[in-house]
C-alpha cells in the first residue's frame, strides 16, 4: 500500500529547480501518512465511543482489546480459512476480564463482541471504514478523496462458515514496517532468534519468533494465491519452465525452512531442559518462555507442512487441466473472450460508464421471466384466503402411545433406602456381615436381608475406578478375612463391611493434570 518508490515518479519539472509551493510529490507522502493515520482511527474511536454505550464501560481499555483482537485473528488465520470469531471472543475474554475483574462475565463478553463488531464495522454496508483527506493535484487544484479500508474482514470458509481475516492495513497497524522483503526478513528473524537463544535472551527470542510467524503466515498466503491463479487456464501459465521452477523453488524453500526451524526447535528444547534443572524464579521464567517458543516454532512447522502438501498437489492438477483444455478438438470459430474482452477492460472504467456495460449484459443475459397474470376470479379467492400460519415449530408430534411396563423389580425403593441406611457406616467402624443381617431381620422384612447380602457381596469388588472418575468422597468395601458366615439362609464368608474415605480434591487435581 505504501510504496516508498512512488516519490521517484514525480514529474521531472517538479523535482528540478526551486518550487514555489509543495507539489504533488510532497503531497503523496502526506497522503500516505494520512492513510496510515486513518487506519488507527477506528481504534481511538473505540475508546472515544465507549462512553456512549449503555452502562459504565470506561474501565475497559478498548484500544488494547482491539489490538489484542487483531493480534489473535492474525495468528489464527489458517491457510484455508481464517479465524473463527467465537474462538477469538473466547480468547479475548481473559484480557477483558482482567481489566475489570469485578464485573460480570456476561459484560466481558459483550465488550469483546462490541470491539470485534466495531473492528468489522458491522453497521456499514461495505463493512469497512472510510476516511476523507485532501491532496493538491498537478494542476494545483485541491481535491478531497475517500480512503476506504478494512481492519478485520469476514470471508467465506468451508461448509458455509464465516471466518475472520486481518487485512494488510490491520497488519500494518499491528506490526508496522512491512515494506520489506518477507523472505529475507524471515531469514533475518530466524538468525536473530538463534543468536538470541545462544545468548540466553529468551524474552527477545520470543518476540523474534512471533515476528517470524507473522512472516510465515504471509508467505503461505502468497503462495496459495499463485497456485489458485494458475488453475484457471493452462495456457495462461508457462508450464514448461516457470511453474515447475516455481514449485521446485517453493519446495526447496519449505525444506530449507523446515530444517532451520527444526534446528531452532532442538535448540530451544535444549534451553528449556537446561532451565528445568535449575529451580530459581528467573530460570523458571526462562523455562516458561522456552516452552512458548516451542509452541510457536511448532506452529511455523505445521504451516510449512501444510504449504508443502499444497505444492505437491499442483502437478497432478495441472496435468488434469491440460488434458481437459489443451487436447480437446479445436472448434471452428472462436467465441468472445468474456474475461479478456469484457471484464478486464470494464473494471478500470469509471463506475458510471461501467454500469452501462453491466446493464447491457444483465438485460440480455438473464433470460426471461413469464409475468404473473391474475384473473379477477382468482384474485378474489386469493385475497380472501387467510394467510398461511408460518410453521415455527414444524409438524406436530403425534402423542406417543405409552404402555405401562409392569414393575418387576426384586426390591422396592423403600427396601433399597433401608439397606443403604444400614450400610451407611462410619469410616472407622467396619462391621461384620452377620451383624448387619441380624439388624436387617429385626425390621421384619425378610427381603431386606437378601438385599444387604447382595450389596455386601457387590462391595467385595468396589468400583474404585468409577469413584475416582466421578470424584466421590466415600466408597463401600467388603473384605473376606476367612471367618465363615453362620447363617440359616446364606453361606460363605462373614465379610467385614466398611466405608473408605476418598481424597476427592486430590483426585480432581490429578485428573486435570492428567488431561
Amino acid at each position: 500500500m505504501t510504496s516508498p518508490a512512488s516519490t521517484d515518479l514525480a514529474p521531472p519539472q517538479l523535482s528540478a529547480g526551486p518550487r514555489p509551493a509543495q507539489g504533488p510529490a510532497a503531497d503523496e507522502g502526506l497522503a500516505r501518512r494520512l492513510r496510515a493515520l486513518a487506519c488507527t482511527a477506528p481504534l481511538h474511536d473505540l475508546d472515544a465511543r465507549k462512553a456512549n454505550l449503555a452502562g459504565e464501560y470506561s474501565v475497559y481499555a478498548m484500544a488494547e482489546v482491539a489490538l489484542a483482537a487483531i493480534d489473535l485473528v492474525t495468528l489464527n488465520m489458517d491457510f484455508d480459512t481464517g479465524a473463527d470469531s467465537e474462538q477469538i471472543i473466547a480468547r479475548l475474554l481473559p484480557r477483558v476480564a482482567a481489566q475489570a475483574p469485578e464485573r460480570p462475565a456476561a459484560e466481558h463478553e459483550r465488550v469483546a463482541r462490541w470491539v470485534l463488531e466495531n473492528l468489522i464495522n458491522v453497521g456499514s454496508v461495505d463493512r469497512g471504514f472510510r476516511a476523507v483527506y485532501g491532496t493538491f493535484g498537478t494542476d494545483g487544484v485541491y481535491t478531497r478523496r475517500d480512503y476506504d479500508f478494512k481492519l478485520i474482514e469476514e470471508v467465506p470458509g468451508y461448509g458455509g462458515g464465516i471466518y475472520l481475516r486481518t487485512t494488510d492495513e490491520a497488519v500494518n497497524v499491528l506490526v508496522g514496517a512491512l515494506d520489506t522483503d518477507v523472505t529475507s526478513a524471515q531469514i533475518a528473524a530466524e538468525v536473530k532468534l538463534e543468536v538470541l537463544i545462544s545468548r540466553g535472551r529468551l524474552a527477545d527470542a520470543q518476540l523474534a519468533a512471533e515476528q517470524a510467524r507473522y512472516r510465515t503466515v504471509q508467505y503461505a498466503e502468497t503462495l496459495r494465491k499463485t497456485l489458485e491463479a494458475t488453475r484457471r487456464n493452462v495456457r495462461a501459465v508457462d508450464w514448461l519452465q516457470t511453474v515447475p521452477d516455481m514449485i521446485a523453488e517453493a519446495l526447496d524453500h519449505v525444506a530449507d525452512r523446515y530444517r532451520h526451524e527444526n534446528a531452532i526447535l532442538t535448540n530451544i528444547r535444549k534451553a528449556r531442559d537446561e532451565a528445568e534443572a535449575a529451580t530459581d524464579a528467573k530460570t523458571a521464567e526462562h523455562k516458561r518462555r522456552a516452552a512458548e517458543l516451542v509452541d510457536i516454532v511448532k506452529d511455523c512447522i505445521r504451516r510449512h507442512t501444510q504449504l508443502q502438501s499444497r505444492l505437491l498437489e499442483a502437478g497432478p492438477l495441472f496435468r488434469a487441466e491440460q488434458d481437459r483444455q489443451a487436447f480437446a478438438a479445436p472448434t471452428s470459430y472462436t467465441g468472445l473472450d468474456l474475461y479478456g474482452q469484457l471484464v478486464a477492460p470494464l473494471l478500470p472504467l469509471p463506475v458510471e460508464q461501467a454500469t452501462k456495460v453491466t446493464d447491457a449484459f444483465f438485460a440480455h443475459g438473464t433470460g426471461l421471466r413469464t409475468p404473473a397474470s391474475v384473473r379477477v376470479g382468482d384474485l378474489v379467492d386469493l385475497l380472501l384466503t387467510p394467510p398461511v400460519e408460518r410453521q415455527h415449530l414444524g409438524a406436530e408430534m403425534p402423542e406417543p402411545d405409552l404402555i405401562a411396563t409392569p414393575d418387576d423389580s426384586r426390591f422396592s425403593e423403600e427396601q433399597l433406602a433401608a439397606a443403604m441406611e444400614l450400610l451407611d457406616l462410619e469410616h472407622d467402624a467396619p462391621r461384620r456381615l452377620s451383624g448387619l443381617l441380624a439388624e436387617a431381620r429385626r425390621g421384619g422384612d425378610p427381603d431386606l436381608a437378601y438385599l444387604v447380602t447382595l450389596l455386601a457381596v457387590h462391595a467385595a469388588s468396589p468400583p474404585v475406578g468409577t469413584a475416582y472418575r466421578q470424584g466421590e468422597e466415600r466408597l463401600l468395601f467388603a473384605v473376606d478375612d476367612g471367618t465363615p458366615l453362620d447363617d440359616p439362609e446364606f453361606g460363605g464368608a462373614d465379610l467385614i463391611v466398611g466405608t473408605a474415605l476418598l481424597d476427592a480434591q486430590g483426585m480432581a487435581a490429578d485428573r486435570t493434570e492428567a488431561s
Binding site: 469476514e154 467465506p156 489458485e228 495456457r235 468472445l336 473472450d337 463506475v351 438473464t366 421471466r369
Partner: protein, 297 residues
C-alpha cells in the same frame, strides 16, 4: 439472432416456395402447435428429452420449414428472440429488449434501482458468473462444453482482478482514492473491492449486500432461468451450465455488452492468447509488502 434465423429459413425456402407451391397449407391447428412449442420454450427448465410432445414438436420444427416459420413468427410476435431450436437446448427463446418477458433490474433487486453501486455490482455479478463459466473463448464457442463454477470462486476471481488493478495503479503511483463529491467517477473495481465478501447475519443466511450474497443471488436467478444447475453445496454452492446459458451468453449478452463497451470508445482486442493470467511473472515468489491479504478459494 431471430432475424438471422428467419433470414436463414427464408433463404432456402423462398426459391423453393413458388415451385413447390406451398406444399402443405398451414391450418389453425398448426398455429396452435407452433404456439404450443413456443410455450414449451417459455419453460426453460423443461427438457425435450423428458417430454414426448415437446420432442415431437421440435422434430416437426426441424423438418417442416413452414411450421418453423410459423413458430418463429409466433415467438417474434410475443416479443421473443429465438436463439436455437435443437434437441439439446429445446426451443431456446429469450426476451426481446422491451418484451413483457424481459427481466428488469428494479424487479430483480430493489436496492439496485436507488443505489448506483448496487446496480453495478448486480450487473457485474452476472458478467463474472459468465466469465467464470466460460473462461476461454473456445469454451464459449464449443457447443459441448459444460462450465462449472462456485459462488465463492466467482467472488475470488473478481477480487483477484480488482487486486491486480490496484497493484498496477500503485506501481504507476496513481492515487486511486476517489474524489469525495463525484461518486460516478470512481473506478469500477474499487466498488467491488470495497464491498465485504461476506458477513455474519443474525439468521445465518448470506448477507445480501456482500459480494458473495450478490453473486449467490445471480446464480440462484440463473438457475431459475434454466441456465445453471446446482450440483452441490461446497464453496457457497456449485453449479454447472446448460446449453441455453451458453447460447444466451454467446449470442445475446456478450455481444450486447461488447457493443456498449465499444460505444464508450474502449476497443478490447484479443489475439487469442490467454487473458486470465496468474499474478505477474517474475514475482511469483517475491513477497509484496501487502501480500498478507487473504485470497480465498
Amino acid at each position: 439472432m431471430s432475424e438471422h434465423h428467419v433470414e436463414h429459413t427464408d433463404a432456402w425456402s423462398e426459391p423453393e416456395a413458388p415451385r413447390a407451391a406451398a406444399p402443405t397449407a398451414l391450418t389453425p391447428a398448426d398455429a396452435a402447435d407452433a404456439a404450443r412449442l413456443v410455450s414449451f420454450g417459455l419453460q426453460p427448465k423443461l427438457l425435450p428429452a423428458r417430454d414426448a410432445e415437446y420432442a415431437e414438436l421440435l422434430r416437426r420444427y426441424r423438418e417442416d420449414p413452414g411450421f418453423a416459420r410459423l413458430a418463429d413468427a409466433v415467438a417474434t410476435g410475443l416479443g421473443l428472440v429465438v436463439l436455437e431450436v435443437s434437441p439439446r437446448a429445446g426451443m431456446a427463446v429469450t426476451a426481446g429488449e422491451d418484451s413483457v418477458f424481459a427481466v428488469r433490474m428494479g424487479d430483480y433487486a430493489r436496492r439496485a434501482s436507488t443505489d448506483s453501486a448496487d446496480r453495478f455490482l448486480h450487473g457485474l455479478a452476472h458478467l463474472a458468473v459468465a466469465a467464470m463459466a466460460f473462461p476461454r473463448p473456445e469454451d464459449l464457442a464449443d457447443d459441448g462444453y459444460i462450465g462449472r463454477l462456485t459462488v465463492n470462486g466467482v467472488d475470488a476471481f473478481v477480487r483477484q482482478a480488482c487486486r491486480r488493478l490496484e497493484e498496477r495503479a500503485e506501481e504507476q503511483g496513481e492515487n486511486t482514492d476517489p474524489e469525495t463529491d463525484a461518486p460516478g467517477l470512481e473506478a469500477a473495481w474499487r466498488i467491488y473491492a470495497r464491498r465485504s465478501a461476506t458477513g455474519a447475519t443474525k439468521d445465518a443466511r448470506r448477507l445480501a449486500g456482500s459480494t458473495t450474497g450478490i453473486v449467490g443471488k445471480a446464480v440462484a436467478f440463473l438457475t431459475d432461468s434454466g441456465f445453471l444447475q446446482r450440483t452441490g453445496d461446497e464453496s457457497g454452492g456449485s453449479y454447472r451450465t446448460t446449453a441455453r446459458y451458453q447460447l444466451q451468453v454467446r449470442d445475446m449478452a456478450g455481444s450486447a455488452a461488447l457493443a456498449e463497451l465499444l460505444e464508450l470508445g474502449v476497443v478490447p482486442v484479443s489475439d487469442g492468447s490467454a487473458t486470465l493470467l496468474p499474478p505477474p511473472e517474475g514475482d511469483d515468489l517475491e513477497i509484496a509488502a501487502d501480500a498478507g491479504l487473504p485470497f480465498h478459494a
